[in-house]
């Protein structure tokens, strides 16, 4: 990127809230998708499946983004 030497990233507190937000978002997003699938398909298994998928994806995203030492 065209140099921006004085751009620093977010500090500690924002990272913490960001992580909470991502975990929440993952569960809500994929839980929501699972819930919608359940509504259309008449099943009741996709909601918990979606929640788990969302949690897994969210953890992956958090580790990917903030896991570098």
């Amino acid at each position: 990127m065209a140099g921006s030497p004085d751009r620093k990233g977010p500090g500690g507190a924002e990272v913490a809230w960001s992580i909470i937000g991502i975990l929440l978002a993952g569960v809500i997003a994929w839980g929501g998708i699972g819930w919608l699938v359940d509504k259309w398909a008449g099943t009741n298994v996709f909601l918990p499946v979606g929640i788990v998928i969302g949690a897994v994806g969210a953890f992956y995203l958090v580790i990917r983004r903030y896991g570098r030492g």
């Binding site: 990127m1 921006s4 004085d6 751009r7 620093k8 990233g9 977010p10 500090g11 507190a13 924002e14 809230w17 960001s18 909470i20 937000g21 991502i22 929440l24 978002a25 993952g26 809500i28 997003a29 994929w30 929501g32 998708i33 998928i53 969302g54 897994v56 994806g57 969210a58 992956y60 995203l61 990917r64 983004r65």
Partner: protein, 263 residues
């Protein structure tokens, strides 16, 4: 069933009803009615105070600041250095006026909680935190779209670089919800909940002091209750400042993300 403990008789524990105020004026507009109540007036008060402070401080600015100008410059410099330059960088300086206003306004709206005679934060009703969060949301999305173009902005937001592409199906809904839904919700609820909690706990200790002191059996406990109440007033001042700071710096973080997507 056990009989109620002696000290609990007659104590009105503060609750949600303590956040509701009767309408002082009603403005009838066709179908619906706008009610001007204490909360609305306090929002207006916070606005006027911030406006007055800035107008008076910088009315005739001197190169070497004195008095109120000096004090306000400390505040502006704090936002400029610790929030804008630290988080966004030089590009962020065009947002300095808004971020300074946001910081001071939220602080004064919060600090109304401990102002004697008022003792109610305008930010403890959802309208104000929600509106400010929506403003932040509109702002960082607008900036992102106008800086990167709608397509690139959406692509960078939903499909952040650095992730193996098959995982994008998994990640995109998470990023969507996280950026466009969770951010405004957490921004508003964080401010709201802190102010509600502060108001409730101050009410508990001050009302508790009065309640305890009225009965000779419990009067001695009014002393630590009052001590706690005083300590919590100081604590609430810190919380008022901190919540204003957090709201402002998160707005800056979201703006930074919109201006320069991570790589």
């Amino acid at each position: 069933m056990l009989p109620p403990p002696l000290a609990r008789e007659g104590f009105h524990a503060p609750g949600t009803e303590d956040f509701e105020w009767p309408a002082i004026w009603e403005i009838h507009l066709g179908g619906f009615t706008l009610e001007i109540n204490r909360t609305a007036l306090l929002m207006l008060l916070a606005t006027l105070v911030v406006l007055a402070l800035f107008l008076v401080a910088f009315r005739r600015p001197k190169v070497v600041p004195r008095g109120l100008q000096n004090l306000m410059e400390v505040g502006v410099e704090f936002v400029r250095r610790q929030i804008v330059l630290e988080v966004i960088g030089q590009d962020g300086l065009r947002f300095l006026p808004y971020l300074v206003t946001l910081f001071f306004f939220i602080f004064f709206a919060n600090v109304l909680e401990i102002v004697p005679g008022i003792n109610f934060p305008a930010t403890s009703r959802m309208a104000l935190p929600l509106f400010l969060a929506i403003l932040t949301w509109v702002l960082f999305n607008w900036v992102g779209i106008s800086t990167q173009g709608l397509g690139r902005y959406l692509r960078n937001t939903l499909f952040p670089p650095g992730i193996p592409w098959p995982l994008y199906v998994l990640i995109a809904p998470i990023e969507f919800v996280s950026t466009l839904i969770v951010r405004p919700v957490t921004l508003s609820v964080r401010l709201l909940a802190n102010m509600i909690a502060g108001h409730l706990i101050l009410a508990v200790f001050f009302l508790g002091t009065v309640y305890l002191i009225e009965r000779p059996a419990t009067a001695v406990f009014a002393v630590p209750a009052f001590a706690m109440a005083v300590a919590l007033v100081g604590f609430e001042l810190i919380v008022a400042l901190l919540q204003a700071y957090i709201f402002t710096i998160l707005t800056a973080v979201y703006l930074a993300g919109a201006l320069e997507p991570e790589h």
